[in-house]
Symmetry: C2
Subunit: 342 residues, 2 copies
Amino acid sequence: MMTNMTIYDISEKAGVSIATVSRVLNGSSSVSEKTRKKVLDVMDRYGYTPNAFARGLGLNTMKTIGIMCADSSDLYLAKAVYYIEQLLRSNGYDSLLCCTGYDLKTKEQSMDLLISKKVDSIILVGSNFIYEQDSDNKYIRDAAAEVPVMLLNAVLKAPNVYSIVSDDYASMREAASQMIASGRKDILYFYNSASYSGRRKLAGYRAAMREAGLLRENGLLQFYTGSHEDIHAMAGQLEKVKSEGLFFNGVIAADDNLALGAVKYAQKNGLKIPEELSVIGYNNSLLTTCCDPELTSIDNKLETLCQHLTATLMGVLNGEKMPEEAVFSGEIIHRGTTLLQS
Amino acid sequence: MMTNMTIYDISEKAGVSIATVSRVLNGSSSVSEKTRKKVLDVMDRYGYTPNAFARGLGLNTMKTIGIMCADSSDLYLAKAVYYIEQLLRSNGYDSLLCCTGYDLKTKEQSMDLLISKKVDSIILVGSNFIYEQDSDNKYIRDAAAEVPVMLLNAVLKAPNVYSIVSDDYASMREAASQMIASGRKDILYFYNSASYSGRRKLAGYRAAMREAGLLRENGLLQFYTGSHEDIHAMAGQLEKVKSEGLFFNGVIAADDNLALGAVKYAQKNGLKIPEELSVIGYNNSLLTTCCDPELTSIDNKLETLCQHLTATLMGVLNGEKMPEEAVFSGEIIHRGTTLLQS
C-alpha cells in the first residue's frame, strides 16, 4: 500500500487529469460514470476510501488540528490540552492552540483564525464554549459546517459536532451522597462556574441533598473573583459565611482550588480535618497531594476522555461513522479530608 | 493619522499603481527615484515608517504571533503563555500556540508549522528551546531569518533574536546566601532540569555555597521522572538521600513542585518546618499557598518579563530599534518554610 501517493500519482495511474481526480473526490456530477469508476478503482487498489483518500492526498488537509481553550493557566484545561496534543502528535497531526479567554467575542475570533489556517478539525476544550442561549452557539455550528468540531466535556447537538463528556452530575451526586452517609448534614457547596459542566455538578449536589431532605438554598456559596489561584480569598469567603452564622461541617467544591480554600479556612480556624470539617474537591489534580491532610477528590477520567475524543476524531477524519456523544463515569479518590468509606 | 489605510489608499493618494507601492515597500530598484519619493512622502504624511507601513498595510502580516512552549501543563510555562496571549490580544494580535514537547525534532516541526502559517513573529517560552551545542540552535536562527524570534528566559545571541531573562543566577545565589545566614550549613540543592535557566540556578547555589566554604558535590540531588507532578516520588528521593546517611537541614529547590516534595518529606518524617528543615522554592506559583506552612519562594517576575517581551516585540514589528537583551531581578518572597529575615 502506497501511503504517500499524491493527486498526481492517482491522475497518472488512472490516466485522467488532476482536475478530474479532484472532481471525483468532490463528488462532482460532471464526471462520466466510466471515468469516475476508473479513478475510484485506482483508489480502491491502494486501500483508501475516497474520503480518507482525499485527506491523505493532502487535497483538503494540512494534518493540523485547531484547539481552543479559555485559559491555559487553568490546571484542568492545561492538562486536557497536554493530553490531546500528545495524542494528536502520535497520530501524525500537528496542533495549533488558541487560548481564547472567556468572552464569546474572542472565542468567535479564535474560531475564525483557526478556520482561516485550514485546520482539519477544531477541538473545544472545556464546557465554557457552550452557551445556554442557543443563538450564542452559532459560531460552533458555523465552524461545524466546514470541519468536524469536537467538544471535551460539553454537549451540543448539531451536525458534525461530537461530544465527549464526563458524567459530572452523577459524580457530584455520589460525592454528596457519600458525605451524607458519613454523617454530615450541613454540607456547603462551593463553586465558581455556571458553565454546562458547572450546572451539571450543582444539579448533582442538589439531587443528593434533596433526596436526604437536607437541601437549603443558603447552602450554596458562589465564589467570584476572576482568579482561580487566590486560595486565601477563597478561605475568606468561607470565613464570611461562618461569620454570618451559617454552620457547616462539610464542603463539596466544584474544583480542587476551591477545596484548598476550604482546607486553608479550616487551618486558619483551628478546625480538625476531617473530623470537624470534611472536604471533597473535583478534578483529582496535582493540588490534591499538596495539602495536609491530602484532598479527597473526584477523578473525572480526563485522560480517558481525551483518548476517546482523539480516537473519535481520527475515525471521523477517516470517513467512519462515529457516535455523536459518549459519556464516561468519574470516580471518587479517597484521601485524608473525608471520613468516607471507599 | 489614518491607521487603517490600505495599499489601495496609498496607491490612490500617490497616484501610482498598487504594484509600484509594493515595489517601493520591498525596496525594489526598478522604481524611479521620483516615484519612490512620491510614495514615501504619502507614507511620511501619515506618520509611518516604511517598515511599519508594510506591516500595517497587511502586505506582510496576518496580525498573528506564533508561540511555542514545551508543555502547557507545566505551571510556569502555562502562566507565561497566559500572560503573553493576553498582552498580544490587547495589542491587536492573535496568537497560535504549539506545545512542542521537549524533543528537538518536534520543536523543529512546530517551528516549521508556525512559519508556514505566516506568523509575524515567534515567541519561545522557557529556556529549554536553547541547546548547549550551538548547532542544535540552527532552527531558531533559521526562523529568525524570516521573522523576529523572542526568547522568554533564555539567551541566544543571533540577528533578529531578542532575549528577555530573569536573573536566575543572582536570585538563587541570594536565596542560598540568606539560608546560610540563617544558620544552615547542610543545604541540599534539588533540581530536575539542565536547561539554560536550570544551569544558571545551579551555578547561583554553588557560588553562594562555595563562598561560605560549604559546597559539597553530594549536596546536589537531581530528580528525573518525567512527571513534575508526583510529589510523593519527589519526597521519596529525599528519603533515599537521608537513608544513605547524608544529613541536610535545608532544601533549595529549582521549582515549587520540588519544594513541595521536600515539605511532604518533612511531614512524613515528623520534621518540623522550618526549625528542622528549611525549604525555598522557585517561581512563586499557586503551589506556595497550598501547603502548611506556606512556601518561601523566589518570584522571578514572570508578568514583568512577559510585559517587557511583548513591548519589545511590538517595537520590533513597528520597525523600531530595540535592545537585544533585557535582564530582570527576582525577589525572595518569605513565607513559613524558612527562618529567613526579609
